[in-house]
């Protein structure tokens, strides 16, 4: 099947492109996503390429290379910054380091003391270091990546549940609708943040970082899917009574097919306009949880954790809070701009008095 966009959609995309702020934001976010996806290549303590005794190594991805490979006398992970210095002296090879030669976990204590140091491009700390001398840019990059991935996964899960339940409510109506409406009313009144905190502190968390992130995600999704159902329910109600649905039914289409093939594409507009705002709220929520110490496990880099460090060291290390705050504001602004632009380009009332 050939990928074909219907003229309506093409028109919407066209309108989106015309909204400059939104379109630019979209391009920036796209570029940012590419950069974040390849973060290992430009923010990493592993070298890009090492040439040693005529052998070329690419340490970035894959298993660690012990120091003994380069005759450094230890069998834990090679310190490539040291290796570079060693090789420059011994002339046995060369090393190409990434732009920021640090990973988000290692401390680079400059005078043997762990403390925040101001930005120092010469050492590769473009935004300075945090309270335990870890590179802020590295932590920002990996923290933002986690936050974005998290928000994306969150959005997909929330929308999936919200769409399925919301559409079913609208489509089936009757007792099903009534019961679910009441249930959702009760469920959505459970204070989301408290529940996340309570549930997350009860769950036994011996598991790996990844598992804990997933638990956090599940808990957050569990208490956030409800708002989407309202919109989907009303939209489905509206669409359900349209002729094309009746026609599909007469042709013998099953319930699932009608909902997902016929109704869903027609209510997609609503869905799409909400997406960026869900992402924004997911990023804010996970940042807030981190700030409170209930989010991602230590020492996972995260925006919230940096913000917390920053507010605790406002006077002595303002660069921490400036970096974290600017990143957060920029990220949220960009996504919000995109959201506004999408909303506007999907708005059927093109010529309105209120513009």
């Amino acid at each position: 099947m050939r990928w074909q966009l219907n003229p309506q959609t093409l028109k919407k995309i066209d309108r989106f492109k015309k909204i400059k702020v939104g379109y630019m934001s979209f391009l920036i976010l796209a570029a940012l996503s590419v950069l974040l996806a390849t973060a290992e290549l430009w923010v990493n303590n592993r070298a890009l390429i090492v040439s040693y005794d005529e052998t070329i190594y690419f340490p970035t991805y894959g298993a660690f290379i012990p120091g003994s490979t380069f005759d450094l006398g230890y069998d834990y992970e090679t310190n490539y910054r040291d290796l570079k210095a060693t090789l420059e002296a011994s002339q046995r090879g060369w090393v190409i380091l990434p732009l920021v030669p640090y990973n988000p976990f290692e401390s680079d204590a400059q005078d043997g003391i762990l403390r925040p140091t101001p930005p120092d491009p010469e050492r590769g700390h473009f935004l300075g270091t945090d309270t335990t001398s870890r590179d802020i840019l590295a932590r920002l990059v990996y923290g933002t990546r986690t936050a974005l991935l998290f928000a994306l996964a969150f959005m997909i899960s929330v929308y999936f549940i919200g769409v399925v339940i919301g559409c079913s409510m609208g489509y089936f109506g009757g007792a099903f609708d009534l019961i679910f409406q009441r249930f959702i009313e009760i469920w959505s009144n459970v204070p989301f943040l408290y529940m996340v905190i309570i549930v997350f502190s009860i769950i036994p968390i011996e598991s790996s970082v990844a598992a804990r992130v997933i638990i956090l995600l599940v808990v957050m999704v569990l208490f956030s899917w409800t708002s989407m159902t309202y919109y989907m329910r009303t939209e489905t109600y509206k669409e359900k009574s349209r002729d094309y649905v009746q026609a599909a039914r007469v042709l013998g289409a099953g319930t699932l097919r009608i909902i997902f093939r016929h109704i869903l594409p027609n209510v997609l507009a609503t869905l799409v306009t909400f997406m960026p705002f869900t992402i924004v709220s997911a990023i804010s929520a996970v940042t807030a949880l981190d700030f409170l110490g209930f989010g991602l496990p230590v020492p996972t880099p995260s925006l919230g954790e940096l913000l917390k460090q920053g507010t605790g060291n406002l006077r002595t290390a303002p660069w921490i809070v400036i970096s974290a705050f600017t990143t957060l504001v920029m990220l949220l602004t960009i996504v919000t701009f995109i959201g506004e632009a999408i909303r506007e380009s999907f708005d059927p009332k093109k010529y309105t008095l209120y513009r």
Binding site: Y76, T132, S208
Partner: protein
């Protein structure tokens, strides 16, 4: 009193930050709708039912030939230079949940202010000399053969409501601590098992008998604090609710006057102008501040900001971050002499900060792995880089007990080779693609290190990074303080980073932490072999689940021993066994405390006493309100004073390198 609890200092509990503080007006005691209770008869009946424990004799029956001591020759505590007056503002981490000193929630951060630091016991250890100076007693006599201490009570002693303190308040204290009404099992147990008798000879003469003759029998008895019999007449089933917000008559110089407690908002304490001990030697130069105003601030960085503004008078700066970065010696306020910095080296039992290894966990039961952990944990780097070399390496779990500390035992250094050799003996020979060692069957060498110390999470991050070099993965788990404590109490931890807060005691305890009774229900069978069905015992301080017959045997001998020399020898042997067993990775201790204070706060010339735990413990400081005003005016006008940065090293112990 002697309860050991995990150090709750430095902990932040963000959960509560969210909960918001419910309002609530000042406590209205008049309208409490509680039914009338009068327990006098019940208490008398209890005394009658336990004639072995509660005895009544006449003064004539006092044994002859007792040697009385009164500690009167001990030097004064505090300085005659001290001036009374002024108001000090103090930070509280959270609002006290109760004013009770017994029962749930009573062991919070407010307790020292209404109990430990301020109230009087019969006698107190002199903070320089360790001998006892009189409090509520005038003299005492120790009869070792009968394990009994005779105490002559001061007839002048009064509760803050003017009622005399008599022998009855001590009898009652035992009743109350043994009562189930207070919902405090630890106290129930302690006061039932550690003492065997209290005898009233007359209103001002009692004797108390302990269960065993220990070298510190004097402190076991003399540090008891009476409870006001007349106030607790209504103690019954509803004790917890009834007494939740009642401020008890006290022996403390500081009172919460009616209206000074606004629940969830503010508390003030006022110095009792009629305090009965105000002119007594050892007491007269202390407790100088007229009013203490408590300010609830949760985050330490915010406390520091409040201190810098002058809202708070003094600030503890034990963390290097504050001492060096946030208030460095070239800070304008320090250079201009507005804020003084003081560093004091003390001598006392050190809280054993380190990794407590739960040997009941599968891999951790392997001695080789534990040895590997010792070598793979880089505390020296933590001390050098995080604490900036100010702290020292802890060598055993019981450092700071003078001769009782086995000073020839040294903690194992960070050594990748030795760590890997030990891990290899346990079968961990290959490194996986992530650099972590693994067994042939794919088991990774990874353990969870949990902790309730939010503010020390960076310490664990450093250990994690360093351990990776030895092929070991530490998974760091930072919990809320309460949750962390709960986890170790349920023995669900693998490794736990924490410390016990030890009070000033003569010799360390081993039973709580190393006896098999506290590790398992019936750890060994009759024939001495390991009980295959043994179950971990929860809610004890044996965090290492350590159960060794040879340790048990020595602990029993140690507890029964009455000879200091024998106890010292046993303590050394036990420390050695513990060291060899390698179930505790000794971390660090700080041999000092340090503070910053505004220049209107004054301390005695020697600053603090040898065994002081912190600058507040003995209330030696005083506040000059005129100077406060002058300082603030000078600061506005840009007038400066001589800067004061002092280090008090008179009790600094020179450690062997």
């Amino acid at each position: 009193m002697l309860k050991r609890n995990l150090l709750r200092i430095l902990l932040t509990a963000p959960l509560f930050a969210l909960m918001g503080c419910g309002g609530g007006s000042s406590s209205d005691q008049a309208n409490e709708p509680f039914p009338v209770i009068d327990n006098r008869q019940e208490v008398e009946q209890y005394y009658a039912d336990h004639p072995d424990f509660f005895s009544f004799k006449s003064r004539a029956e006092l044994p002859a030939g007792l040697t009385w001591e009164d500690g009167g020759n001990l030097p004064e505590v505090g300085s005659p230079l001290a001036k009374k007056g002024g108001m000090e503002t103090v930070r509280l981490q959270d609002f006290p949940r109760t004013l009770r000193i017994l029962g749930p929630d009573s062991n919070g951060s407010f307790r020292p202010w209404i109990l430990d630091y301020t109230t009087m016991s019969m006698a107190h250890r002199h903070p320089d000399q360790m001998d006892f100076f009189p409090g509520l007693a005038t003299q005492w006599a120790i009869d070792r053969p009968s394990r009994t201490v005779y105490v002559e009570l001061d007839p002048d002693a009064r509760w803050s409501d003017g009622v005399p303190i008599t022998a009855d308040d001590y009898l009652f204290m035992f009743w109350m601590h043994r009562s189930t009404y207070i919902t405090a099992p630890w106290y129930n147990n302690w006061y039932s098992t550690q003492y065997t008798n209290i005898t009233k000879y007359d209103d001002h003469l009692i004797s108390i008998t302990t269960v065993a003759l220990k070298p510190d029998i004097d402190s076991k008895v003399l540090e008891l604090r009476p409870l006001p019999r007349h106030f607790y007449q209504e103690v019954g089933k509803d004790f917890l609710e009834r007494y939740q917000w009642r401020f008890a008559p006290t022996t403390s110089p500081y009172l919460i006057e009616p209206g000074d407690l606004k629940k969830g908002r503010s508390i003030q304490m006022t110095r009792d102008q009629n305090w009965w001990a105000k002119d007594k030697k050892h007491w007269r130069y202390r407790f100088n501040v007229d009013k203490i105003n408590f300010m609830v601030i949760r985050d330490t960085p915010k406390v520091f900001e409040a201190f810098k503004r002058g809202d708070i008078d003094q600030f503890s700066m034990n963390l290097a971050e504050y001492w060096y970065e946030k208030l460095p010696s070239d800070d304008p306020d320090v250079v201009s002499g507005y804020i003084h910095k003081k560093l004091f080296f003390n001598q006392r039992p050190r809280p054993p900060y380190g990794l407590w290894i739960n040997t009941a966990q599968p891999l951790l039961s392997d001695q080789n792995i534990r040895l590997g952990l010792q070598y793979a944990t880089n505390w020296d780097l933590v001390i050098d880089k995080f604490f900036r070399g100010d702290y020292d390496r802890l060598n055993t779990a019981n450092d700071g007990y003078g001769p009782y500390t086995a000073s020839d035992i040294k903690a194992r250094p960070f050594d990748i080779e030795l760590a890997q050799a030990s891990f290899a003996k346990a079968g961990f020979t290959e490194r996986g693609p992530d650099g972590i060692l693994r067994r042939a069957d794919g088991t990774r060498l990874a353990f969870t290190v949990s902790s309730g110390y939010e503010s020390l999470k960076d310490v664990l991050t450093i250990l994690k990074e360093e351990a990776a070099k030895a092929g070991l993965e530490y998974r760091v788990e930072i919990l809320d303080g309460t949750a962390g404590w709960k986890k170790v109490q349920e023995k669900k931890h693998e490794l736990h980073f924490s410390a016990f807060g030890y009070s000033l005691e003569l010799y360390p305890r081993f039973w709580e932490t190393y006896h098999s009774d506290n590790a398992y229900d019936k750890a060994f069978l009759e024939d001495g072999s390991v009980n295959p069905d043994r179950v971990l015992k929860t809610q004890t301080n044996n965090l290492e689940s350590l159960a060794m017959p040879e340790m048990d045997q020595r602990i029993n001998a140690y507890r029964a021993s009455t000879e200091a020399d024998e106890m010292i020898a046993l303590a050394h042997e036990m420390s050695q066994i513990h060291h060899d067993y390698a179930s505790f990775v000794p971390g660090f201790y700080s041999g000092f405390f340090r503070i910053g204070h505004w220049r209107w706060v004054h301390y005695p010339p020697y600053f603090a006493n040898k065994h002081a735990a912190n600058h507040l413990e003995f209330f030696l400081h005083w506040i000059d309100e005129d100077e406060r005003k002058a300082t603030m005016d000078a600061r506005k006008a840009g007038v400066t004073f001589e800067p004061v940065i002092e280090s008090f090293e008179q009790y600094r112990r020179q450690e062997a390198p």
